[in-house]
């Protein structure tokens, strides 16, 4: 599908959607949002790009295979789960920095867990969609 309108729109939509997905990821701790939804929005941004420009060019802008995001995301999540053990607390306990960080807000181990989920969701969705798209 080659459509000049879609291609031009995608050029602007891709960064906006990625930014929005990151916003969803960050507000997820107390408000609706979080890693899963953020990851879905981010992968939709890439899916849109692949509709407009073809799967091959999307894979080119991603540079790495989406499959490699899965272990990285899982590792980040799992490390944030076991990190409290080092302080003698049960796994999954929320650890928080004392001072809020500008723009992002409070940072805690829950954010890293969500970040891991975000990466895993992008990895899984894009792997599935690219596999189906390249089969044809």
């Amino acid at each position: 599908m080659k459509s000049a309108i879609l291609q031009t729109a995608t050029r602007y939509l891709l960064p906006i959607l990625l930014l929005f997905s990151f916003f969803l990821l960050l507000r997820g701790h107390y408000y609706p949002g979080g890693g899963f939804v953020g990851g879905l929005v981010a992968s939709i941004a890439f899916v849109l790009h692949s509709f407009a420009n073809g799967t091959a060019s999307t894979m080119k802008i991603l540079r790495y295979k989406p499959l490699s995001l899965i272990p990285i995301g899982l590792a980040i999540s799992t490390l944030s789960v076991v990190a409290p053990l080092l302080l003698g607390l049960p796994p999954m306990t929320g650890l928080w920095f004392e001072e809020p960080i500008p723009v992002i807000g409070m940072i805690g181990s829950a954010l890293f867990f969500d970040l891991g989920v975000y990466l895993v969701v992008i990895g899984v969705v894009l792997t599935i969609l690219f596999t189906i798209a390249l089969e044809q």
């Binding site: 272990p71 899982l74 799992t78 607390l89 049960p90 796994p91 306990t93 929320g94």
Partner: protein
């Protein structure tokens, strides 16, 4: 007592799987990681087991939320024993799969999925929250779907469809049961449920809910009217996969059944009669099914069904002696059934077929391996003093005390048919001369020595554990005695989880 490290067996498997995902398509690295991770997992499980033996029940409140509100993980004697057995079986299967699987299967992620499966098993044994148990069941069945379909041959897909349909149905029953249970009690913590369920006025509703759980776990552990998916799917995947399934997956159903019945739905007369009927029919149908099979793995699949009946019978009687029999049989069965499927895999490598008509002459060609296999087969049949013999004593004792003569008769029939079937298999596979020598496809002899060793070693490891269970039965009886007292009197479990809040 609170111990924050009881989840270590789960995390070891999880990290192994993640590390293997990082080495996607590098099968040699994955093999080393798999064996290494399994061995670390075994060491961690041994540590957990000794701590539970020394300090009693250990608990951990995830995320530091107190017991009835947060998710709690509990390691009592029963779950610690099963975690240990799973880890031993995990080491054996990961050694065996590193040489027996085709490279094609490894490329598509056999090893990470295998470790996710073991992680799910360990989680199901350690959790103290019934919804969390459901989540770990899902981890187990999703991993097992992948393992079962990996390779994508037609027979495999056919088996996988049956397996998947029945297991999804089981999960639905289980989930519906949890939903009703939460509706009537307002809690999901198993220790808390044990207290709250007694306050429910509507006993009929509780009885119906317990039926949901019995059907759900019944499908998973393959009991009488619901077992047919098992023999029609377990012979299709590669032997290493079938060993994990046959040795461990059906036993999780039995574990969950024991856990739920001992804590939440203490069996009343109706449940006991129902379970006893199921047990007798399971033994009889499984045994008669095994009689007519000529494929070694199909035969073993029916024997799984038959021996699940022994354990369900013990649960149905629900006395201390009978539960000792069930738990001892569970310990014996996990080790032996895993080994049986590994043996089937080895026979396939030695001869290229599993059809008993075409097999033969294994004792003539490989006497040492055959003798090792013979010990395992003797244990399965229950020749004294090997491991299959001791639990049957307790089961018989329980049956006579409770006057369940039908069950005692079924036990005798089941044991004799097992003996007959195994004797027939021995004479067909090991003693008789192969009908057509030239058709045999020996893929074992041309292998390099270290690969031969890696194929035989896991069978040897499990065989030695089985021998230990049989010859040092006193130690095992002490453990099963402790387990069954904890199961019969659940106050210790409840107090460990809820602390002093009970009164």
């Amino acid at each position: 007592m609170i111990d924050n490290h009881i989840l270590a067996p789960i995390f070891v498997q999880l990290f192994t799987a993640i590390a293997q995902l990082m080495f996607w398509r590098k099968t040699v690295t994955q093999r080393f990681l798999s064996v290494g991770g399994s061995i670390i997992g075994l060491l961690v499980a041994i540590r957990l087991f000794t701590r539970v033996q020394a300090d009693g029940i250990l608990t951990m409140n995830a995320a530091n939320w107190d017991a009835p509100f947060g998710i709690v993980f509990v390691a009592d004697a029963f779950s610690a024993t099963l975690v240990l057995l799973t880890s031993i079986a995990g080491v054996a299967v990961s050694l065996f799969s590193s040489v027996s699987l085709s490279r094609q299967r490894m490329l598509y992620g056999y090893f990470p999925i295998f470790h996710f499966l073991i992680m799910g098993l360990q989680g199901a044994f350690l959790t103290g929250d019934i919804f969390n148990l459901y989540v770990f069941f899902e981890v187990i069945i999703i991993s097992s779907f992948v393992l079962m379909t990996l390779g994508g041959r037609k027979a495999q897909l056919e088996g996988a469809v049956k397996y998947m349909a029945m297991n999804i149905l089981a999960s639905m029953f289980f989930l519906t049961g949890i939903g009703i249970l939460y509706g009537i009690t307002g809690t999901l913590n198993m220790a808390d449920l044990a207290l709250k369920i007694q306050l429910v006025q509507n006993k009929t509703l509780v009885g119906i809910t317990s039926c949901f759980f019995i059907i759900g776990f019944g499908i998973k552990s393959a009991v009488f009217p619901l077992y047919y998916w098992l023999p029609s799917s377990y012979h299709t995947p590669p032997s290493a996969v079938a060993a994990t399934f046959g040795g461990l997956l059906t036993k999780v159903g039995i574990y969950a059944l024991i856990r739920v019945l001992s804590l939440i739905f203490i069996p009343d007369d109706f449940t006991r009669t129902l379970l006893m009927g199921i047990a007798v029919m399971t033994i009889i149908t499984g045994a008669f099914g095994a009689l007519i099979k000529t494929n070694v793995r199909r035969l073993f699949s029916y024997l799984i069904v038959c021996h699940i009946g022994f354990m369900v019978g013990g649960i149905a009687m629900f006395t201390k002696i009978a539960l000792m029999g069930t738990v001892f049989y569970l310990i014996h069965d996990i080790m032996v059934k895993t080994n049986m499927f590994l043996i089937a895999g080895l026979i396939r490598q030695l001869r290229g077929t599993l059809d008993m008509g075409k097999l033969g002459g294994l004792y003539r060609d490989y006497p040492k391996i055959s003798l090792m296999i013979a010990i395992v087969l003797f244990s399965l049949v229950g020749i004294p003093p090997l491991s299959g013999f001791w639990p049957k004593i307790f089961l018989f004792q329980g049956a006579f005390e409770m006057h369940h003569y039908f069950f005692a008769a079924a036990l005798i029939i089941g044991s004799f048919i097992t003996l007959y079937v195994i004797a027939k298999m021995w004479s067909q596979v090991f003693w008789k001369n192969p009908p057509q020598e030239d058709l045999l496809d020996d893929r074992f002899a041309p292998m390099r020595p270290y690969r031969k060793l890696l194929m035989v070693l896991p069978i040897l490891i499990l065989g030695v554990v089985t021998l230990y269970v049989g010859l040092n039965a006193e130690a095992i009886i002490n453990i099963t005695d402790k387990i069954s007292s904890q199961l019969m009197d659940n106050s210790e479990y409840i107090e460990a989880v809820l602390g002093d809040k009970t009164n």
